[in-house]
């Protein structure tokens, strides 16, 4: 049977068919849906977990592999930075049950803070890599990866890209192969990576990568297709599909699906049969550099850009100079559709208030709340990577406290999921090294940005069981923070008071905002904790409204301003009754419907 599947769905299906028993991930676009799909599978086949971060996800998968099960981890490209430590050394210790991990790279940076090419990571860690081009290959390669993993005693990594993750193609569905759980035996020389053992294992790593060269040259994942031989195109991943679209039968192809180690013999053979070579690869010139190291002349980044996707129009423009005609008249009138906090988002009241403060540096983090950076809030001065808000803020505060010239205090803001991810380590730093930063943990009871994933603070597992819930307030107290306040971020006075209170202190403080994400499907516990939330509607009394537009500066998409009538109004279908606009209206024109 064939089914239309995204790459992410196909990976999940492949993991299931390969008999995997344990999967862990931390969400991150575009890889999130892999674990979401796995979490729908019954626990009797497979345990699927959200880990607090990627390092933990990979380490738990490594442990599961050592215990004898086929195991799996997935993450977005920057997640592999977080997981780099176990990744580099698991390459030495190898596996018992097969171990496969996914890196979902983002050529074009649709929703990421950078555009790193994780093919570099596979090479640096000596870990074999596959690069699927479409959904069918996703499923086939993940299954093959388990074989390679077990035959060669190695973790194996698949490099996906946004387009591969989120495109749909037809996939042949097969049965699950029950491979069972291998017996665990004590093997400290293999699994205890003290220097003496690791040195020995390093020899295994070299041997395995050497053995895999033969596989790379002969496997079905790397192949040549000969048509016109005036042009030869060397491609990996989805670039194959784009190149085919552009050249059709006017070029020959060498498609690389297994890319670490690269197939030297195939390259040499191909080079001998074609007149000239283009290397089309997304991001870094990895295959290009390799071909050149083999003495093969080729064109790569001298022709194609080093950033973005190598989609057909990019290839055409690079090679043939073909420009896409642009309809300028549309460009002239075009306006932005900027992302905004949803109506009723608990971050709105908080950032509305925070942005009004003078004399503070706001150290931000990654999540929906990063939207606090833009207009109308303008409430973020730096954002780098997950967890960094609190530690960057700490460093800045230490400097400001030394500098008599600048009277600046630091407020660090971080989401609940991001706090559990790595912000918690940074807060240790604040407490231990004692800076007066104000840490604001924006607890909206879910992981919002990546689409509503449970996390250690929500009380539910990925597979939907009720579980232990980590209480941020109790946790922070136990860590040694003496000054803690939990507030309702929709209450602007409460936010202001809490900020005044914290900024008057000369020691670490934590403010926890506590209100659910407007898109969260509330649990019974949420309903108890937030009675009446999202039940009300607000309206603008047109007779009282003076047209000052103050309410629109909350950035709520339920509010619109009529330029002709010079009055605001609220879309009753969008309003969920957070009351923030009513609090900012200077003439009390906004009130609850029915009051």
């Amino acid at each position: 049977m064939k089914k239309l599947m995204t790459g992410d769905e196909a990976i999940a299906r492949g993991v299931f068919e390969a008999g995997v028993k344990f999967a862990a991930a931390y969400p991150g676009t575009p890889s999130t849906e892999i674990l979401e799909n796995l979490s729908e599978i019954d626990r009797e086949y497979l345990v699927a977990e959200w880990a607090p971060n990627e390092k933990v996800a990979l380490e738990s998968a490594i442990g599961a592999s050592v215990a004898g099960a086929r195991s799996f981890a997935s993450m977005k490209h920057v997640g592999l930075n977080v997981a780099a430590d176990p990744f580099f050394t698991a390459s030495y210790s190898g596996v018992n049950g097969g171990l496969v991990l996914i890196t979902a790279d983002e050529p074009g940076q649709f929703s990421s803070q950078n555009e790193q090419d994780n093919r570099n990571m596979a090479r640096a860690a000596f870990v074999p890599m596959f690069e699927p081009a479409d959904s069918q290959e996703c499923k086939d390669m993940v299954k093959e990866a388990y074989k390679i993993s077990e035959e060669h005693d190695t973790p194996v990594i698949l490099r996906m890209t946004t387009r591969v993750c989120h495109s749909k193609g037809l996939v042949e569905i097969e049965e699950r192969e029950e491979v069972g759980i291998k017996k665990w035996e004590k093997q400290p020389l293999k699994y205890v990576m003290v220097p003496a053992n690791a040195k020995v294992r390093k020899q295994h790593v070299f041997k395995r990568m050497n053995d895999l060269k033969e596989f790379s040259n002969n496997c079905k994942w790397n192949f040549a297709e000969y048509y016109d031989t005036k042009i030869g195109v060397v491609v990996s991943g989805d670039c194959y599909l784009y190149a085919k679209e552009v050249f059709g039968e006017e070029a020959s192809y060498l498609k690389v699906g297994f890319s670490n180690p690269l197939p030297d013999e195939l390259f040499k053979d191909f080079a001998a049969k074609v007149d000239m070579i283009y290397v089309i690869e997304e991001n870094d010139p990895i295959m290009e550099t390799h071909l050149k190291s083999l003495g093969i002349e080729c064109h790569g980044k001298d022709v194609f850009p080093s950033h973005g996707e190598m989609i057909p129009e990019v290839i055409r423009k690079s090679i043939k100079g073909e420009e896409i005609p642009i309809f300028d008249e549309a460009k002239d009138v075009m306006i932005n559709r900027a992302p905004t906090f949803c109506a009723g988002c608990p971050h709105r009241g908080f950032f509305y208030t925070l942005g009004k403060r003078k004399g503070i540096m706001i150290s931000g983090d990654i999540g929906c709340y990063t939207l606090g950076y833009g207009a109308p809030y303008n409430a973020m001065d730096m954002t780098l990577c997950m967890g960094a808000s609190i530690s960057m803020g700490h460093g800045a505060a230490q400097v400001f406290s030394m500098d008599e010239e600048q009277d600046v205090r630091v407020v660090s803001v971080i989401g609940d999921s991001t706090f559990f991810h790595s912000g918690i380590n940074s807060l240790f730093d604040v407490i231990y090294n004692n800076s007066n930063t104000v840490t604001c943990i924006l607890d909206n009871r879910i992981t919002g940005m990546t689409g509503q994933q449970q996390n250690p603070g929500t009380g539910f597992t990925a597979q939907g069981q009720e579980t232990n819930e980590i209480d941020i307030e109790g946790l922070v107290r136990a860590m040694g923070v003496k000054n803690i306040r939990r507030i309702n971020p929709n209450n602007l006075d409460e936010v202001n008071e809490a900020l005044d209170w914290a900024l008057a202190l000369d020691e670490p403080s934590v403010i926890i905002t506590w209100w659910p994400c407007a898109l969260k499907v509330q649990s019974e516990e949420d309903k108890k904790n937030f009675p009446g939330s999202f039940q009300n509607k607000y309206r603008v009394d047109q007779d009282i409204c003076i047209g000052c537009k103050k309410c629109t500066t909350t950035g709520c998409p339920a509010i619109s301003f009529d330029k002709e009538k010079r009055k605001s109004s609220i879309d009753i279908n969008k309003c969920v009754g957070c009351s923030v606009c009513a609090q900012v209206c200077p003439v009390k024109a906004i009130g609850k419907v029915g009051e």
Binding site: K168, Y242, E245, M334, P557, F561
Partner: protein, 190 residues
């Protein structure tokens, strides 16, 4: 020959259901189909752009710029934003109901008055109507997407496919009749 369809709109407008039904129909007719979706972030009301390609054998899942045969437009501004995808003689099926971005709502930006005229100027053929109002007449503004689907089916000459059956098999029972009705209206608007 590969045919290229682009669906463009706002999260929550039903682009995903429309593309799903269209794809199932095309598959049932034996076509190879590839689809690719680019959406904004998780917040409500973000931009959604779906690429759908079908033919005997489809490689790339992305519609190349300047090669879309048809744009299924759920929102005028989003169609205009993506108009460079359209072939010079390409067709646009356009829902004229507007969905204001935050900048317009807050009175900072002005929604361009002449979006429809510009689309008409650039496209080969435009079928435009207020699909949201048409759906409202049927008692449920949500079936706007199925009305547009009907128009697409008709204008792409895909009527040999048994769409009623596809609706029956893929839509919740209580909505089947409503969807069939919406499809019929969409077809009649060509």
């Amino acid at each position: 020959m590969t045919k290229n369809v682009l669906l463009t709109g706002i999260g929550g407008q039903g682009t995903i259901t429309a593309s799903k039904l269209l794809t199932i129909g095309l598959m049932s007719a034996g076509y190879d189909v590839k689809m690719s979706e680019v959406h904004g972030m998780s917040q409500r009301e973000g931009q959604v752009l779906t690429h759908l390609r079908y033919g005997d054998k489809v490689y790339s899942p992305v519609v190349p710029m300047g090669e879309a045969d048809i744009i299924m437009g759920f929102e005028e501004l989003e169609v205009l934003r993506n108009i460079d995808y359209l072939k010079p003689d390409g067709v646009v099926v356009l829902n004229t109901a507007r969905f204001n971005p935050i900048g317009v709502l807050s009175g900072k930006d002005t929604y361009p008055e002449n979006t429809k005229e510009l689309i008409e100027k650039r496209a080969g053929k435009v079928y435009s109507f207020d699909a949201t109002a048409e759906a409202q007449k049927l008692g449920n503004p949500k079936v706007m997407n199925i009305i547009l689907l009907g128009t697409i089916i008709k204008s792409m000459q895909l009527e040999d496919i048994d769409w009623d059956k596809i609706i029956e098999e893929n839509v919740k029972p209580q909505f089947v009749e409503l969807n069939k009705e919406a499809l019929k209206i969409g077809k009649s608007l060509v």
